[in-house]
């Protein structure tokens, strides 16, 4: 009973926080909206175990296709949702100047693939990406803070590399937004064909899970499936696609690293470390922009994510302090540095660059996914050697 009470207290705290942030006479109600949005994102990730590291790693190591199918569901639903929002804002994709407001459409150069490689390797070593570490924080995982702190250090390495990357790729890389070339219908048709093809490949080449013993669906069984057992990843993915559409409608594409990057940059400034970061503050995506005071929208989203995950973990009886073995912390730290470096040079992570980039029809999202797959494959080889 204690855990149900604790879940109710955390949920109530999130609700009150959203109310406090809500200003009825202010046109910008984004901050108040981001509390339920972040909590919903954390709840979905926790319940459906929607972990990008697991999605890529388990496909290679275990031939487990479930999370990857969930990722495709998220991308398919989210892309359709983005298309609706784009259509309301940009009547003619072919002849529009610039790109839709706030969408994560960024330069598609080799730096994104390199970032994906680093991020993919890091997430497999750490046992989770940035969003995975955040939702596991809500489950009481004590490796997650180590991974996130190490990611802050990884950002510093990314800042060091940025001037070289800016000159050699970022500044000159093309920004490819598919609807500008194919229009709305052409872009969506290409996407649906790609998602259907990839899903068919997964269903054909990778085995289904052995069936669990059948049981009649009664109310207790339904409640157990909703709040105790994990949700199917495809359901979680579709829910994330819907949520991504709503957050983009509020000009806040899903993303979890910009606050981490900002904190990392501020800590560096406080320590007297100055980085030359040409063009970074003008980039779209989850870039580390300093200057905002107080809680940024991304900080609100991320804190709410942890809160939402905590509520669901408590309800499911899955919250407990998970101490882990020493090797877990070491891998978490090494993986975290790679995660931070990859997220910095790619202007986001699996959420901000992969999910929000692909949903926004940006080529950069696909390049990141390509790098991610290579990095996750390499990470799998390392894990196998260490097991």
């Amino acid at each position: 009973m204690v855990r149900y009470g604790a879940a109710a207290v955390v949920a109530a705290a999130l609700f009150v926080w959203a109310l406090l942030l809500f200003k009825p006479y202010d046109a910008d109600r984004t901050k108040a909206f981001l509390v339920p949005a972040g909590a919903a994102f954390g709840a979905i990730l926790q319940r459906s175990r929607f972990c990008f590291a697991s999605g890529f790693r388990d496909l290679f190591l275990l031939r487990d296709r479930r999370v990857m199918l969930g990722l495709l569901a998220a991308l398919a639903v989210g892309s359709a949702g983005y298309l609706v929002v784009f259509g309301l804002r940009v009547p003619d994709a072919f002849h529009t100047e610039g790109f839709p407001r706030a969408a994560h459409i960024s330069p598609a150069g080799w730096h994104v693939i390199a970032g994906g490689l680093s991020f993919g390797l890091g997430m497999v070593l750490a046992g989770g990406c940035i969003s995975g570490s955040l939702y596991r924080l809500g489950e009481g995982n004590l490796t997650a803070p180590v991974t996130l702190a190490a990611a802050g250090l990884g950002y510093w390495l990314g800042f060091l590399a940025w001037p070289f990357l800016w000159v050699n790729t970022v500044a000159t890389a093309p920004v490819v937004w598919l609807p500008k070339h194919l229009g709305w219908a052409g872009s969506m048709a290409l996407y649906l064909a790609a998602f259907a093809g990839l899903a068919a490949l997964l269903l054909w080449k990778f085995p289904a899970m052995p069936p669990k013993p059948a049981e009649p669906v009664t109310l207790p069984v339904a409640l157990r499936r909703g709040f105790r057992d994990g949700w199917p990843a495809v359901v979680g993915g579709a829910a994330i696609g819907v949520l991504a559409t709503f957050t983009y409608q509020h000009n806040q594409p899903l993303g979890v690293t910009s606050e981490l990057g900002r904190q990392s940059r501020q800590r560096a400034n406080e320590l007297g470390l100055t980085f030359n970061l040409p063009g970074l503050d003008q980039m779209r995506g989850c870039s580390a922009i300093v200057g905002e005071s107080g809680l940024t929208p991304n900080a609100i989203f991320v804190l709410s994510l942890v809160g939402g995950s905590l509520v669901m973990a408590l309800l499911a009886g899955e919250f407990r302090w998970r101490v882990g073995r020493p090797r877990t912390y070491l891998l978490g730290a090494v993986g975290g540095v790679l995660l931070g470096f990859g997220a910095m040079i790619s202007l986001g992570c699996t959420v901000g660059t992969l999910l929000s980039g692909v949903m926004a029809f940006s080529l950069s999202g696909w390049l990141f996914a390509l790098g991610l797959a290579g990095g996750a494959w390499a990470g799998g080889r390392v894990l196998k050697a260490l097991a």
């Binding site: 275990l62 989770g128 009886g317 073995r325 894990l383």
Partner: protein, 74 residues
């Protein structure tokens, strides 16, 4: 006689299944064994692993927080 037990609690995500696979292939000698875990998703993956190698794997709760998987050759 007690079956050998592989304890994968507290391991980083992804590693436990690889450890169990290594045990199954190199140390089990084809005899039944038990795995103790603390993560539902990992236990599900153990069922997939068992099926891949032609074994059976029954997963159930162990105490309040943990899980137990019984591996047996078919």
């Amino acid at each position: 006689m007690n079956e050998p037990t592989v304890d994968i609690r507290g391991e980083p995500c992804g590693m436990p299944v690889l450890r169990v696979e290594k045990f199954l292939l190199e140390q089990s000698g084809g005899a039944a064994f038990t795995v103790l875990g603390d993560h539902e998703q990992t236990m599900d993956q153990l069922r997939l692993l068992a099926s891949k190698h032609g074994w059976t794997c029954d997963v159930g709760r162990e105490g309040r927080d943990d899980w137990r998987a019984n591996f047996k050759p078919r």
